[in-house]
Symmetry: C2
Subunit: 303 residues, 2 copies
């Protein structure tokens, strides 16, 4: 089943202790769609400038990714410059140039408005709400990502869109800032009161926790000896998670747990190389091999 993502498509300058890359393709919608499209067809709503050319289009071309909703405007694309220290847990933003993204007003092509799965990437909560209102029918799943900036300065706008959301995907600091609860179980109760019935907390190298009314689940990060660049890991996770759900068409607990594993494994590919390098080239065999190893690793026998 089709999955619609609204977010950013950008160029990034990345600096880690292991090297640097300039002008690599990035943005939440890029990581999300490359990841999700390994499981289900994806539709992208985003905006790019005229620096987005054939080379960039080609990245999406091999996958079932529909770019009809990718608006192209005169000017430069969103540009982000970030650096990481050795612990790789938090990016330091060195420069942000919004460029054409500053006036982004997502407009959904007619055919997108019945998409059964919707992911609202990390953009202004009022734009996220506007996207929900453009849908011709209520999707089976609406998922949302956000960040501390919106939580702090646009709390009411965020509260309004959260009422329309099924799955909230945030990192640990965001979950705590949003709910003003340190304990994640208590944070989840408050998230439920805001609207979302499912909470996914991304914890970087500590993995992911999933909260649903019926079950709690936790998966570690897939263990890697070398992590080169964590950029896009969260959006890759979200893509794998929702892609897996859209691919299965189910939202029962076993499917949600499998979706967590899928997202985690895909994020492990992303962080192994710079930008989307690894995500572009990962084969279905490599993906299913790592998924199998991850699930073997986590398996426990009956007590």
């Amino acid at each position: 089943m089709s999955l619609l993502v609204v977010g950013s498509v950008a160029f990034d300058d990345l600096e880690t202790p292991f090297g640097r890359r300039d002008d690599v393709l990035g943005g939440s919608a890029t990581y999300f769609s490359l990841s999700a499209s390994l499981f289900a067809p994806v539709r992208v709503v985003a905006v790019v400038g005229d620096d987005f050319g054939p080379e960039q289009f080609r990245v999406f071309a091999d996958r079932p990714i529909d770019l009809l909703g990718l608006e192209r405007r005169p000017g430069r694309s969103f540009h982000w410059k970030g650096a990481y220290g050795y612990d790789l847990n938090e990016a330091q933003t060195l420069d942000t140039q919004l460029n054409v993204f500053a006036d982004f007003h997502p407009r959904l092509p007619e055919g997108y408005r019945t998409s059964p799965y919707l992911f609202l990437g990390n953009i202004h909560p009022s734009l996220q709400l506007d996207v929900v209102k453009q849908m011709a029918q209520r999707p089976a799943i609406v998922a949302l990502d956000t960040m501390n900036y919106w939580i702090r300065d646009y709390r009411e706008e965020l509260a309004r869109v959260l009422r329309e959301v099924d799955v909230l995907l945030v990192n640990e600091a965001e979950a705590r800032a949003l709910t003003r609860e340190h304990n994640l179980l208590k944070a989840y109760r408050k998230v439920q009161e805001c609207g979302p019935r499912i909470l996914v907390v991304k914890r970087g190298e500590y993995g992911v926790m999933l909260f649903t009314p019926e079950a709690i689940f936790s998966a570690p990060a897939f263990p890697l000896e070398d992590v080169f660049d964590p950029t896009g890991a969260g959006d890759t996770f979200a893509g794998g998670f929702l892609g897996s759900l859209a691919g299965s068409g189910k939202t029962d607990i076993p499917s949600l747990k499998r979706a967590v594993l899928a997202g985690s494994v895909l994020a492990s590919f992303t962080v192994q190389q710079f930008g989307t390098e690894c995500l572009q080239t990962v084969s279905p065999q490599e993906l299913s091999g790592r998924l199998q190893r991850f699930s073997d690793m986590m398996r426990i026998d009956e007590l």
Copy 2:
């Protein structure tokens, strides 16, 4: 099968955001033996002063805990005073009075020297090595805990005892300090070169990672809404982990994974109340109920 623990028995003054308690029974050997004895008989080698009386003996009396090796000397017992802030992840030591513990030289009663399982609690690495040398036969499993102080200032002594060790149980910072590797997979390779074939990394609220030559396993902390006092959580985990192994008599991968779950669940009881309060009163039914819920939570279906 019998499990021998060498460590501290102490009185603690504890301060957390949720209250304070003075002169509560603590120490690594206390938490360890109360936890392990739910699965297997435990023998304790430690030293106490004459402030350790009937009230303290009674705590151990209901369990299969042999105190023949608990030396009683004139003077006061080891006394630790610590405080925690709201995040509860790290204790701030306010005061340490070694008292009779300053001259602790573990001496194993004759009958203890054939114990098949040995846990070397966090004491001077030369004393840990001395205990290993007192064993009449090589135990099936020798496990060791240590801390940054020994890692930094007694590196050679620690290296000598590590050569005799099968299982190293440390927290994340200690694993990194010992191996000078940030990445835990790389840290594990270095630990293997030092002697231990199994590494257990305790990560507080993020749970535990187990590294063996054949498998890696990770378990989250059992999710709780209220954590009151993390004192003793690590030693409780170690007790549950080794107690479970000693109880089963096996060290295959499924048994090691079950041991991680047992240790994690017992630690979740410890942190729910102050000191050993919860650990003293937890019933076999509560324990097995929580173990079952934890294992259900973690279960994933075949992919």
